[in-house]
Symmetry: C2
């Protein structure tokens, strides 16, 4: 059903796409979905940026369509009201949901790019989206919004294309990737690269399932919060963890476990069934490079470029993008004289709160857009 | 040099050692080191319990000896003054530093136990130490002290053998393993089991180096704190990470990295050179089972068994054994009417603070022993 709504556009018709850290891509396609209609002035567009393993399907397009990852936020009568806004969401450059990335075919070899793909940055992703917006006839974005990696993109959008951005909502993100975030990214990459089925990135089917599964399990712990795990699982005993959700079989004394272990395995397996390992490497690496100050010399100079009202939302129990990072971001915006709304949502859901606390985020977005 | 001071004792001369969760060991040896002399009444002994990858070498025995893992705490004129106390530290049951564990030879097969070893609990470790104490002629422990897994043992000691324990110092630990701790333990185990060189526990040399290295890297992130990583590494760029500290070679675009990545690799490699993978599985599993309430029905009933003054020390930035766990433990002790000292050390070192903040911990121990 989703294929009916997903569109693919080539953004390299006017020439190759150069990457910030070197190299260029002769051919770049982006997958995207749109909701609502662009107005005559081309200024009612909202760009929604997805997180690490997200895709362009931010919400359903019809009653029989699958729900999207921010279902409650986009649609008629919803905070991003499609009667008012033309909502666009595209799979990031480097992604594995239709956009050009390491799992796409390298035209020079006829095989998947694998590790021959170029290292990406958030700025590359944003520049690709900018070309998409131009092709769609958008003159100005009323809002760029995203959480986590999506928030990094939104922030980079407002800094890189200040004239093009009329509003910025950065959720559960920060101005720069911290050492802790880089460390956690490296754990996931190492898990993938440790799996012999990864084959230095040149795997076929099924690929490094164990490694990617473990990478997701590691990430999951950082996405949740100790209090959530305590309340949801505590020390509940699962007994045998179903073999189908374990990548290694049942033949060890470790096959029995606590519920929290079973949950992690389940989450790991679920990602393996829908995501590409090399893509995971490239996107987490791009996140490590996130630093809005880089081209401008300081955070202050970067933020001084922004020319729109800013909404910064943090999540009280976020273990990965700590509350102080959003406080820092909001302070930077205020000191730059920007109209800044800052909210710290009280939530037990940890970093994943940006996907869970839809109602609360929706309210903040609605107020911000008034 | 260390071998000169390490002693090995057999604790199964009177019969096999039954395990709490089933099975028994016909033969158990414990490696231990002692400092100072036992007095005539046999009541000046201090038992120091080590953490996950620690050993019996808590401190040096002479000027030309290697320093121990709590060097500043044990010795003449130090908080655990060896002129006053007979200090004992033993490698835990299940360990790989001289005590019987999964890397020991199974007498029935002539090969290492591997996964045929029995699942252990903290209570098993403590019961083995109790037999050791009896063999050493100790009548009463003036103090049982430990941090992390060592703290779990110390706590379990005071609950299991209340008449034998004259003082308890539990540092950076809690009354029960939390869902978060279990989750993190499972990530490390999964890393090891994912490594094909693990061979379902029946590896020879060199064993699952990549898996054990990754397990350590995962643990390291939880042992430190985001603020420590930020201050120490921030976004400093390392460039090429030396091949000798990487288990996978240099032939990927991911060989260059941030300093924090290099640090994690270095720490992973260091553990691989000194620790056994199956031992890591068994000891982390024992930690998951930690729950002082288990045999008694409630925490209150467990703590009501304790008959000595208690020192509880937490570490403000501990990400693994959260401050509230020590607060909970101290509250339990106070409500049970125990003489309870509680201190939350303000430290940026995270969980590892129990190995770093020697001076502060030493002061608290000195006051406690006055």
């Amino acid at each position: 059903m989703r294929a009916n709504y997903r569109k693919i556009i080539r953004i390299t018709e006017e020439g190759p796409f150069p990457l910030e850290l070197g190299g260029q891509l002769a051919d770049v396609e982006l997958a995207y979905e749109t909701y609502g209609s662009l107005n005559a002035r081309g200024d009612n567009a909202v760009l929604v940026c997805h997180a690490l393993t997200g895709d362009a399907h931010v919400a359903s397009h019809s009653q029989d369509d699958l729900p999207g990852w921010w279902e409650g936020l986009v649609g008629e009568g919803r905070p991003l009201d499609t009667r008012r806004f033309f909502v666009v969401c595209s799979n990031v450059l480097g992604g594995c949901y239709g956009s050009t990335g390491p799992s796409s075919v390298n035209p020079q070899t006829g095989k998947a790019w694998g590790l021959d793909f170029h290292i990406l940055t958030i700025r590359d992703m944003v520049r690709a989206q900018y070309l998409l917006c131009q092709k769609l006839g958008i003159k100005k974005l009323a809002l760029v919004i995203g959480g986590s990696l999506g928030g990094m993109q939104a922030l980079e959008w407002a800094v890189t294309y200040p004239e093009f951005v009329g509003g910025l909502a950065a959720i559960a993100t920060g101005p720069v990737a911290t050492a802790q975030q880089i460390a956690l990214g490296e754990l996931g990459r190492w898990a993938i690269m440790l799996d012999p089925a990864w084959e230095k990135g040149s795997y076929g089917e099924p690929g490094p399932e164990g490694g990617l599964g473990l990478a997701r399990m590691i990430a999951m712990v950082s996405y949740k919060s100790p209090e959530l795990f305590a309340a949801r699982f505590g020390r509940k005993w699962q007994g045998g963890i179903p073999a189908k959700i374990r990548i290694l079989g049942h033949d060890s004394p470790w096959a029995e476990g606590f519920q929290v272990e079973s949950y992690l395995h389940y989450q790991g397996k679920k990602l393996v069934d829908r995501f590409d390992a090399n893509c995971y490497l490239y996107l987490t690496r791009a996140m490590d490079y996130h630093d809005i100050s880089k081209p401008y010399g300081s955070f202050e100079k970067a933020v001084a470029r922004i020319k729109c009202p800013v909404l910064v939302v943090g999540l009280s129990s976020d273990q990965l993008y700590l509350p102080q990072e959003q406080i820092q971001l909001a302070e930077l915006c205020r000191r730059a004289g920007l109209e800044t709304s800052f909210q710290m949502l009280d939530t037990p859901f940890g970093h994943d709160g940006f996907l869970v606390e839809i109602e609360a985020i929706g309210k903040l977005v609605t107020e911000f857009l008034c």
